[in-house]
């Protein structure tokens, strides 16, 4: 028996396929399911057995039923495939300025007369002060906006439960109407070098990749304006992934939480 097949979630396969798990158990099971092929095989086998039993009593079909089925089904538009997408958190700003521009700028600085230097510094100081004021105003505006959003009755707060001994807290504020979410993390260790934490939303029982993030030295992280994926989000989870993020979880979920509005 492999290491993964001994995971405690293997004891819950039967309850899972019979919809007998509570929300927290179901979310934890699905988080494990996404990264454990043996568990996926066992779950598929249980589901097949159940389906075989459930479908073992065929009955004669009434006349006209097929026509109703075809008329009802085929006349409706099919869903578009759900495309997973990765939304990078706070993407690094890259300078698009070509090298020659820097060289030209440096050259021009060399020819600035000494008498102009003080004036330039004053202008720079003024611009810095104005930029600082603008950033402060932006921060206040953003904070007010965030407070307004968080106090909106439509916002659902999902507190993710740690699947192991981890002590940190992860909260996800979900706005189903705007299709946006915000992640607040506290007391979380910075991921190892080259790694980051990644948020996942579960749609149709499958994990859809979302933002990556890393807490600062104070163990805190706040990720705003996270876009919810298409479809009904039923759960959310956090795993540890390569810094660039993954399209599918490569490690067990560290935190999981059910989304009530998704049911």
């Amino acid at each position: 028996m492999s290491e993964s097949s001994r995971h405690p979630m293997h004891e819950l396969v039967e309850e899972y396929v019979l919809d007998l798990l509570d929300d927290a158990e179901r979310v934890a099971f699905e988080a494990r399911l996404a990264v454990d092929p043996a568990l996926a095989r066992s779950t598929a086998s249980a589901r097949e057995a159940l389906a075989a039993a459930a479908l073992s009593t065929p009955v004669a079909l009434p006349a006209g039923l097929k026509a109703r089925v075809m008329a009802t089904a085929v006349d409706q538009p099919a869903d578009e495939p759900v495309e997973p997408r990765v939304i990078p958190m706070q993407p690094a700003r890259r300078s698009r300025a070509p090298l020659w521009l820097g060289a030209a700028l440096a050259a021009s600085l060399l020819v600035i007369a000494k008498q102009q230097r003080d004036l330039a510094r004053e202008r720079e100081a003024t611009a810095s002060a104005q930029a600082l004021a603008a950033r402060s105003l932006d921060a206040v505006t953003q904070r007010d906006s965030m407070i307004a959003r968080l106090t909106d009755p439509a916002i659902e707060l999902v507190t993710l439960a740690a699947t192991g001994d981890a002590k940190p807290s992860v909260r996800v504020y979900i706005d189903q109407q705007r299709r946006r979410a915000m992640v607040s993390v506290a007391s979380m260790e910075t991921a190892p070098r080259g790694q980051a934490y990644q948020l996942w939303f579960f749609v149709d029982g499958k994990p859809v990749p979302s933002v990556t993030f890393n807490p600062g030295a104070d163990g805190r992280a706040l990720v705003q304006d996270v876009t919810l994926p298409a479809g009904t989000v039923t759960a959310t989870a956090v795993t540890q992934e390569p810094e660039a993020g993954s399209q599918a979880p490569t490690s067990p979920a560290l935190f999981v939480g059910a989304v009530k509005a998704g049911k």
């Binding site: 004891e11 039967e14 309850e15 396929v17 019979l18 919809d19 007998l20 996926a40 095989r41 598929a44 086998s45 249980a46 589901r47 097949e48 057995a49 159940l50 389906a51 075989a52 039993a53 459930a54 479908l55 073992s56 009593t57 065929p58 009955v59 004669a60 079909l61 009434p62 039923l65 097929k66 109703r68 089925v69 075809m70 009802t72 089904a73 085929v74 409706q76 538009p77 099919a78 869903d79 578009e80 495939p81 759900v82 149709d204």
Partner: protein, 201 residues
Amino acid sequence: MVHAAARTVSDDSTLVLAMTKGDATAMSTLYDRYAPNLLGLALRITREQADAEEVVVDTFAQAWREASRFEAGRGSVAAWLATIARSRALDSIRSRTRRGRLSDAAAAEGAATDAPAMGAPLASPVANVIADEQSRRIRDALMELPDSQRAALDLAYFEGLSQSEIAERLGEPLGTVKTRVRLGLRKLRELLTALAPEGYP
């Protein structure tokens, strides 16, 4: 696998793939393969012919709509359709209960002591059970389950009850019910694996 042993899983998957491209003929073929089984399942849950037929209509409508979400690697088309049908059928009886059409007496009728066991043919208006060797063998396998385990599975699957509700219905401790559900489904998997002609998943 469910209705014709010779059919391969890839055949069904190909049909679903064709449905994503708007192929109504593929849908028609899938209906011919599974509609008798799905109607039997829907009747077992709803116990009303009209509701069961509506479940079959809704099941294929959803399958058509969501064909692009089907993943062959996660299970068979039969299991996918059964999952949809069960969900729609349970929605139907819950809706009926909310509308007050289901009297307490009728609801109590679903108690395990009275309900047909999983896999048992129904005495329905269309109880003209289609002869199907594979289905018969699956039903035989089901009858090998201990009654207590089959009753727990029945209540969970066909009535959508929680384990606490099953415990209350059967008058058994919750732990006993959990054990019966787990052992019952494991035993069922073993039995079906043994009779599968081409290797059960």
